[in-house]
Every structure is written in C-alpha cells, then in structure tokens.
Amino acid sequence: MTRVASVAVVVACAIAFWQVLVWATGVPPFILPGPGRVATALWEARALLAQHFVVTAAEVLAGIALGSVLGALTAVQLVAAPRLGRAVMPLLVFTQAVPVFALAPLLTLWLGYGVWSKIAMTLLIIYFPVASAFLDGLGRTDPGLLDLARTMGAGRGRTLLFLRLPAALPAFASGLRLAAVYAPIGAVIGEWVGASQGLGYLMLLANGRAKTDLMFAALIVLALMTVALHAGVGALGRRLDAYAAGRREAV
C-alpha cells in the first residue's frame, strides 16, 4: 500500500519533471514531446500499439527463457572445466564486443527476417550478463563448504550441483534482473535489424515519419513492459535469495 503510494508519487514526480524539462528548456516537441502529447498518442494509437506490443513481448519472453538457460549453462560449464573456462572467457568477452550491426546481416542470413532473428538478438544481449553474474556467484561458495565436500570425496560435478549452484542462486538472480532490463532492448534492436512488426519497427517507422509522439508512445509501452518484467524477475530473485539463505521452507 505505502509501496504503491510511493511509486505513484515518484512516477508523478517524474512526469512533472518531464513536463518542466520540456517547458524550461524549450526543447521542441519533435525532439522531446511533452507528456500530454505522448498520452494523446498513446490513447489514439492504442490498437496499433497493442498489436505490435504482443509481437515484441513474445520475442522478449522467448529470448529471456533461452538466454538465461544458455547463460546459466555456460557459467556452469566454465566452472566445471575451470582451465577451459579461463581460456574461453576472453573469447566470450570478445564476442560481446561485436556490435549488432556487424551481426545483423549474418543473423538475417541464417535466421531470416522472422521472429527467430529477434529472439537470437535478445538472447545474445542477455546471455552475457546472466553468464557473468552466475559465474561470479559460482566462484564465491563458502570455502568451508568446499573443504567439507573435498573430505567427503565429492566429485567436481556433484560439488557444483549440490553446493556451488544453490549458493550462487542469488548471483543468478542478479543476472536475471539485468537480463529483464536488457531483453526488451535486445528485441527492439532485433527488430531494427529487420522486421515488419513489433514495437521496435513501429518506433523506427514513427521516427522516419517525424511522428515523435508516436515514437515516444511506443517507447513508453516498451519501458512499461521492462518495468513489469523487472518486477516479476525481482520477485523470483527474492525467492532465490531466501532459498539460498535458508530463510524459506520452499522455493
């Protein structure tokens, strides 16, 4: 209740700040439209926005699911084979530094202009934060527990599965929280690479037609989706945190 209230206050402040910014700096509406104009666009284009939203949301969800699974698997793999891991890590970082537009032709060549190139882009973008955060967590297990596992004659794999992994769940949750924020951006970029629907496509189109208010309306829908995702993943993360700390009876 107070939480909802304080969020409401902050949102109201943000909107007020936006309005004041527009007034005070005199920034023209074709660069930054005021909240009123954007609200109007939101309302008038609601059907259009809804239609493109559904497409992007589907891409985002699929991308998050695949990306976090792949990221987690990568982290686990790197920890399971640490020498390989240390050698492969630079390569992984290397691939992360490749900007989208260099990949764009390759992605479309192999995956076409359908939904798969967007999912791939989302996946590519969230894969690294998830893998990196999880990897960090897997490396920070209580050394006492690892000592114990050693004396118990535990294999590397089982130690990973039964000790490192549960202990790293909060770090995994950290990675997921980042993933939730970046996944929508990934999908939008995927749509810029080539698309005929989705919020990213709509934004680009609106931008090209100088319909900045429609672009911002699409952007707000996108941002709200991100906030919702982040909140959802945050709730999951709190459960994982509680589980790893032994504060709950079940996940």
Binding site: F101, P105, L109, Y113, V193, L204, G208, R209, A210
Partner: protein, 293 residues
C-alpha cells in the same frame, strides 16, 4: 567570417562533393563563411537538430521534408544538392524478378522509414499491384547485403550511384528500376534545409553561391576534384567512392539556389493522394528561393 553549422545526411560520401570541394577550395571562406561540417549516423536526426536551432543547415531529402513540415518541424528547403531522384528499386540483375510485376508476394527491404510505402505504392500501382501484395521489411543496416544474400527480393531506398557500384564490386550485378520512370513524380533527392523562422536569406545565398562554384569546378575538373575529395580523409579513398564520384557528377544541381516550385507542389499532391499527409500546404511553406526578391 560568419559561422555556419552544416549537418550532412550521413557520413561523408561523394554525394557531398560540392560541399567538400567548396570547403577545401576555399569557396566558403571567399563568401565570408566559416562552415563546420558534421556527419551524423542517423539521417532522421539532422532536420530535427536544425529545426531545434542546433545547426544552421542540414542536408536532407525532399520526400522527408514534406512529412516533417506537416509534423510541424518549421523547416524550408533553401537549396538543392542533388536534383534528381537517386532512389531506386533495386533487384538482382540475374534474379527471378524481371519486371516489377514479378514482385507479387515477395519481400521488399527498406532502410530509412518514411515515404517508402508511398513510393512503392505508386510504382507497384503501375503494374497492377498494391503494397498489400508484398511484405515490407525494414532492413536498416544492410540494404545491399540483404538483397545479395537473397533475404529480400528487392530493396527500395538504394542509391543508384552507390548500391549498383557496390554490388558490382562484390561481383553481384544489380538492376535498378528508376522510380521516376515508374510513376513517382520527379523530386530533388538531396536538398539543403534550414529553419524557416528568422531565416537569413542573405547568408543562405552566400552559402549556395559557394556550392554553385564548387559544383562547376567539379564538372569542369572531375579528376582534380576527386583528388581533393579523397584527400580530405584517408578512409574516403577507395574503389567504390571513385566509381560513385563519376556516377554522381551529372546529378549535382548546377543551380543550387534555383527552385522548381511545380516539383514541390506535385510531390505534395502525390503524398496527399497516398494518404501520408492530410492536407496540401502551399509550396512557400515547404521550399523557397532565397534569392527571390
């Protein structure tokens, strides 16, 4: 000297020949102008920045200008850089698309969103098709690669002076359907736009005079002007730019300040008919002749 900030439509390329040459040969300086040239990455930004007063002149496109004026950007065309359309509907020379009618059910890629739908609508309409018969795909960063690799059947928004050469260099021949031959009213591909409010006509006139001189110099000295152009930055000296330079030469507006009012009126009418604008504005709100008394 008066300072002038000029934003190009994109990174420096042979389309900007008169501007670069005017700068390098000192024609701007001779007009008492100190011109700062800024290349952006997104062609939709420059008009906005000029309309916002962040720059004095932008290189933009006539079709976009119409839309922008209708969206309230407060811009006018003050001069012309390239006086013919460069845009073409590009297909593979030895691909399955022999005529525009073959595009039925195909995918057409575009890059800069805006008027492509209208242009395509006109072109397709002449061949008994409509935009409902094709799928429009935004291919943003890879116009010719998406065509060469067969991801799309055609692309619109390709420049006849570049993409054709580019594909040729890669060993894949392309074929252009020139859109002004296919029912689209002829227009100025590249224009100079400035803020309508408080427009300094005299300054614009001096600017255009310098580019006019530069254009004539280019026409008169194609090789020497190429040397000047490529000398401005190491990354400009390559095969593609050399070829494009030759192909672009005849398309530079020889009289940059001259305004063909009918051309703007016709295009306005064309956009109105295509449903992209809701009313027709008088030409004076879109384009002016800065030298007119």
């Amino acid at each position: 000297a008066d300072k002038v900030t000029l934003i190009l439509d994109w990174f420096v390329n042979p389309d900007h020949g008169p501007i670069i040459v005017a700068q390098e040969k000192g024609f701007f300086a001779a007009q008492g102008l100190e011109v700062e040239i800024i290349p952006p990455a997104d062609p939709s930004d420059p008009p906005k920045l000029v309309a916002a007063g962040k720059a004095d002149i932008a290189v933009s496109y006539q079709p976009q200008l119409h839309l922008q004026v209708h969206e309230g950007l407060g811009l006018v065309r003050v001069g012309t850089l390239v006086a013919t359309p460069l845009n073409c509907l590009l297909v593979l020379a030895d691909g399955p698309v022999k005529s525009i009618a073959d595009l039925k059910g195909g995918k057409i890629g575009f890059s800069v969103a805006g008027v492509e739908e209208a242009l395509l609508g006109a072109v397709l309409g002449r061949h008994g098709l409509s935009t409902a018969d094709i799928e429009l795909v935004n291919v943003n960063w890879s116009l010719s690669p998406s065509l060469m690799s067969g991801q799309v059947d055609a692309v619109i928004g390709a420049y006849r002076n570049f993409e054709l050469n580019q594909m040729d260099i890669e060993g894949v021949a392309g074929r252009c359907f020139f859109i002004e031959e296919e029912g689209v009213p002829a227009y100025d591909e590249l224009i100079y736009v400035a803020r309508a409010e408080g427009l300094d006509r005299e300054l614009m006139a001096r600017f255009l005079a310098a580019t006019e001189l530069a254009t004539q110099y280019i026409i008169n000295n194609p090789e020497a002007s190429w040397e000047i152009f490529k000398g401005t930055a190491a990354e400009l000296d390559d095969e593609l730019n050399r070829r494009a330079w030759i192909d672009t030469l005849p398309r530079f507006a020889l009289r940059p300040a001259a305004l063909d009012a009918g051309r703007y009126a016709r295009f306005e009418a064309f956009l109105l008919e295509a449903g992209l604008i809701e009313d027709a504005r008088p030409v004076a709100e879109i384009a002016i002749d800065v030298g007119a008394p």
